[in-house]
Symmetry: C2
């Protein structure tokens, strides 16, 4: 068949709904630009559509569910009513990219009921912001819906236009760590979220979810053409989700912006989460940290005991000394506890979360850290055996609390094929990292930790859906390819990696990427695809309230001038501005220190040399700043001359512009030191 | 990142395995052209690769399983040994496209064992034919593998080249009835099988499976690029498959041919199925049939009772008379049994499979049919409520057997979200049409029917994987968009539809498409996108041992000359030759009547006018034939002039060629009447 005939058929299909369905309800964003409308087609499918201005973004898309134990909820639906409301408040982040966050939306609640005998009902709630849309399903308890055993969520996302997509596959090896694909939208297969697309008309949309609580993580599969749909993460139990009514699903989110920068400026995910449930969280501390970690990835140290054991009392003392001497408030030490000597990667059942190796004197080290004004960051690698971990969790957290350890890095590396959970029958079930069982586990860890005033930084985690607003002790997590892939990844992270991350993974929330490897060298001498200046820029570009200086202490000594920026840069901000960016090409971000008047700027690019000019109008007007510039030097190139860094100082004001020249694989970092107020 | 850099990265990835893995075993096809090789990579993944000649088709692809209750079987594997054998036999089909089938392959059995403590083992068995490859997993009972609870099969199909794909989506609305997508391979999302691709070098590969017994149907998802993988059909139970060892999976099949015609000539699927287990099957009868069916799709009759009720004794008698008068041996009557008046589409729980409507005197009709030399074809629409159907199945089959009804059309239309099965706890479970529970159900129906010498023609079935070889009473099924979509489909089947079906769906086996609607008109006058001549060609092109003349009897009276071909054409063949074809464009097939010396030819095209010249060298050499030609007449076009048919008679021999001119939406049918032997 000819492509022309195919196109004609598609056009006919696209027109068909307009003929048959009348709009049942609609809602627009506060600025009037984004509009969501609801209709019911001839077969009783309730559908939503999204437009921005005159451009259709999402054509009529179905909603509904398959169940394992009941007829699907999909056709034969009617809209029985709807209500609208507006909401506008500004709330304060205890820590974050900005102090004040405005939460401003128009909401439409649509009441939906089956026209068939079961007469099941639910509400669809749409919140439309200037920067996108969130919607969710809400179920009241009712005679024919006490418990929902969800086989699949039938939410569609039918894109109205073709374009480019940045995505990583779902359901591959049970984690989130992949190099991003850059493809036409029509080449998306099944993707994890955030999934970011740039439509033909330039509109950017990032698909994700907010407030993933006691539910399966949503992935997005392409059906055909540019038609996408939700695919929930499976469970060994059968239903992907089991929930008793009343309950609400997580928010399905579309961050929408005319440019890439707008995506990274969006607060939509946080705004759709519930406010802080922990009360006073002054015990949660943004900070930088160093640790005994990179050596394991270089294979010069080991988690396991023996001659290369990294977590020794002597090494700990040295690392604490280094931290204290350079102003780092945190020290992470991995491999301190019993259990690393067997086949830990397989099932983690040998891990003790309270017993240290004999060469690691935990109480003594904790006391020494305290003496030096440094906080140990505890470490719990579970190998994804969550049943085993939960058995010891109370004792493990109590131990850390007793020793004054106020943050824990958890880990869920698994080679067994999933999270090992305990089923109702006591037997082991293998569950996905993004499944409902995992979502329950992670929140249990976070809330149990909160009781002891401990913060959590989860690696190989469930994805970030903004729950840090509700549980501010969930300070960071991994959930993408981080620095360790530069040590041993085949291939290592490409130069564009972080310019993709900002507009994909980072839309979910902070990432503990562990930047700052100034030596630019991985295992067996593998070259990191970055210039030295870019390593500095990452501290501003990749937001996390806890940031590691990941390199070995002895390497930092070799690069004292660059190291100064790492010592200077804060990790908590009163304001953030994304100055420019194109997904996978480059991005420039400026942030203001929450503890002072200084601004910081980071710019990273990709494998090409890139130049951009930015206005400094984010600076306080009329004030003078000393810009301490760390830029790629002459001839810098990640491949041939990565350590060429130029250091400059310049006086600037908000009326100035700056031209940033990034080398291939390069970046630039700037500290704007505020002069006295006029 | 630039496309060039991306390409370079991919090339590096593709080269990596060659560096690290040594071939552990290999096997070639009897003609030496197709070669499968096995290796183990550095992490202990066992991989297979497929090449044809010097062209790589499948690059190293992983094998393995995820389980819901045990660690995955994927990494840390070793090849502990292998054995090869050759096999060559010719077996006889009781009915089919050809009488004799040669089953000629070289087999490689690879013994694989985990190097980790569980030490689980399995065999991979590869059978390499001149027309493709089949492979399966075989599990012996063993201490750490008594029962397999399979969460996913990790079989990959990494295509070495880009190209074009013809596919329908999986997991959409729980059936198989879609218009085919024609896309680049990189635009496959998740597809049902058969999935057919044409690689850049012209090689055609159809991915499917053979002998789907007590296992979940396999779908094929694209991971990224041209990397594909198996995705099993889910189950409400949790594991997609539960099997006690010893057991073998279905065969994963790759039919491989330098041209499209070769795919449609392949016997690989049948050859990988086990021989006939039913013994004497002389009670299975290929035949043509008419029925009370098309009127329901036109909405001039109804399944439900009332004034439009189609299944009345009077209508049955008329239809039997029409069949007898025109030489049709079968009569199908739908809507005869109680249960059609409620919301049968929802759950089918009101269906009786033994009680007729009062206006349908089943015993009297059966007796009248017998008197007229006609066989009733029974009808069991289940609405996919398989628990309800199985409860009545014995009684229903006994009733039909008693009345001499030797074939049943079953139906599994469902609007409930799945096959309604009964779980171990007695509660309803919603299962997929292609899942393990469905595979068990269908085989139960077929084997129970066989006990009564009844044949089965399943609609909305599980896919065909060649089980007709083992159970020859499984005569046909639907499993794709059939004629009824031309009645009410929006849109109806496009002109290319059947030229796609031959190289996709039909590779699985016979399809009860129900051709022959000479009126070319659906519900409310919807035009069928076919010429009249094409309707005749479908009887040869779309193989099924039972073929319906689907139009209303009163319509056949209007087209007596074309109707003659439908009366003449047989449905059982001693030989089949696919003379030419391009997927989705056109195909020409010649078949020889199993009951005589005549040959029949069918050619169908797409929306374009097409001309091809074919050699008649399939005819017996030196023998004279009278070719009765039914071709698109001058100016024929499905849109503007569909009833223009030209009828010609010509004397031909095997030395002749014929030029076939197909109109847009057209086709051609020829009956070659053999003259006396020399």
């Amino acid at each position: 068949m000819s492509w022309l005939a195919r196109l004609a058929a598609l056009v006919l299909l696209a027109l068909a709904p307009m003929v048959h369905a009348a709009e049942a309800a609609a809602v627009a964003s506060p600025d009037g630009k984004i509009r969501v409308s609801i209709d019911v087609d001839g077969e009783g499918h309730v559908r939503y559509s999204v437009a921005r201005g005159t451009a259709a973004l999402i054509t009529p898309s179905w909603l509904g569910f398959l169940f394992t134990d009941a007829p699907k909820l999909h056709r034969n639906l009617s809209v029985t009513g709807s209500e609208a409301r507006s909401f506008d408040e500004t709330w304060t982040q205890p820590w974050g990219e900005r102090t004040q966050v405005r939460n401003h939306f128009n909401e439409l609640r649509v009441h939906i009921k089956e026209t068939k005998p079961l007469a099941r009902g639910f509400d669809m709630v749409f919140r439309v912001f200037d920067d996108g849309v969130g919607f969710r399903y809400e179920f009241a308890d009712q005679p024919n819906l006490h418990t929902l055993s969800i086989a699949e969520e039938l939410t569609q996302f039918n894109l109205a236009q073709d374009g480019t997509a940045w995505w990583v596959p779902a359901f591959e090896w049970n984690r989130e760590e992949y190099i991003y694909n850059t493809t036409p939208i029509r080449e998306i297969a099944t993707a994890q979220t955030p999934l970011t697309v740039k439509l033909a008309d330039g509109t950017h949309i990032a698909f994700h979810e907010a407030a993933l609580v006691d539910y399966a993580g949503m992935n997005i599969a392409r059906v055909q053409g540019t038609a996408l749909k939700a695919v929930l993460t499976p469970s060994a139990r059968g239903p992907k989700v089991v929930r008793a009514a009343p309950f609400t699903t997580p928010w399905r989110t579309l961050q929408i912006s005319p440019d890439a920068a707008g995506l990274a400026m969006s607060n939509l995910i946080l705004n759709l989460n519930e406010p802080n449930k922990l009360g006073d969280v002054s015990w949660v501390h943004p900070r930088k940290y160093v640790g005994i970690w990179w050596g394991m990835h270089l294979d010069s140290q080991s988690w396991a005991s023996g001659v290369k054991h990294g977590a020794t009392t002597a090494n700990a003392f040295k690392t604490i000394d280094f931290a204290a001497a350079n102003g780092f408030k945190g020290v992470l030490i991995e491999g301190w506890n019993l259990g690393w000597d067997g086949d830990w990667f397989a099932d983690g059942k040998d891990f003790s979360f309270t017993q240290a190796y004999p060469d690691f004197d935990l109480p003594k080290i904790a006391a020494y850290a305290k003496l030096k004004g440094v906080h140990l960051i505890g470490h719990h690698e579970t190998s994804a055996n969550i049943a085993h971990y939960e058995d010891q969790m109370d004792a493990a957290f109590d131990l850390y609390a007793k020793l004054g350890i106020d943050a824990i890095k958890t880990g869920y590396v698994s080679d067994a094929g999933g999270m090992q959970a305990r089923g109702a029958d006591g037997k082991t079930m293998f569950e996905w990292h993004e499944g409902q069982v995992s979502s329950v586990h992670h929140l249990k860890v976070v809330t149990e930790a909160a009781k002891r005033h401990i913060s959590i930084d989860a690696h190989e985690p469930i994805k970030d859906t903004g729950l840090r607003r509700t549980y501010p002790n969930w300070v960071s997590r991994e959930g993408a390819r981080g620095m360790e892939y530069n040590a041993w990844g085949a291939p290592p992270n490409p130069p564009e990696h972080e310019s993709v991350l900002v507009f994909t993974r980072m839309l979910g929330g902070p990432m503990d990427f562990t930047p700052g490897v100034l030596s630019l060298t991985g295992k067996h001498g593998q070259q990191i695809q970055s210039t030295e200046a870019k390593q500095l820029a990452l501290y501003v570009v990749l937001y996390s309230p806890i940031q590691m200086a990941a390199d070995l202490p002895e390497n930092y000594v070799k690069y004292p001038r660059s190291f100064q920026f790492i010592k200077d840069v804060p990790t908590d901000w009163s304001d953030t501005r994304v100055l420019n960016g194109e997904v996978g090409d480059y991005v420039t971000i400026a942030r203001k220190d929450r503890a002072g008047d200084n601004w910081y700027l980071g710019a990273v690019g990709d494998e090409q040399a890139r130049t951009s000019t930015i206005k400094l109008d984010f600076l306080d007007p009329g004030r003078s700043y000393t810009a301490e510039i760390y830029r790629d030097g002459d001839g810098a190139d990640w491949k041939t001359n990565p350590h060429a860094v130029a250091y400059e100082t310049r006086k600037v004001t908000s009326a100035d512009s700056l031209t940033l020249a990034l080398a291939p694989g390069g970046g630039q970092a700037i500290r704007f030191v505020a002069g006295p107020r006029k």
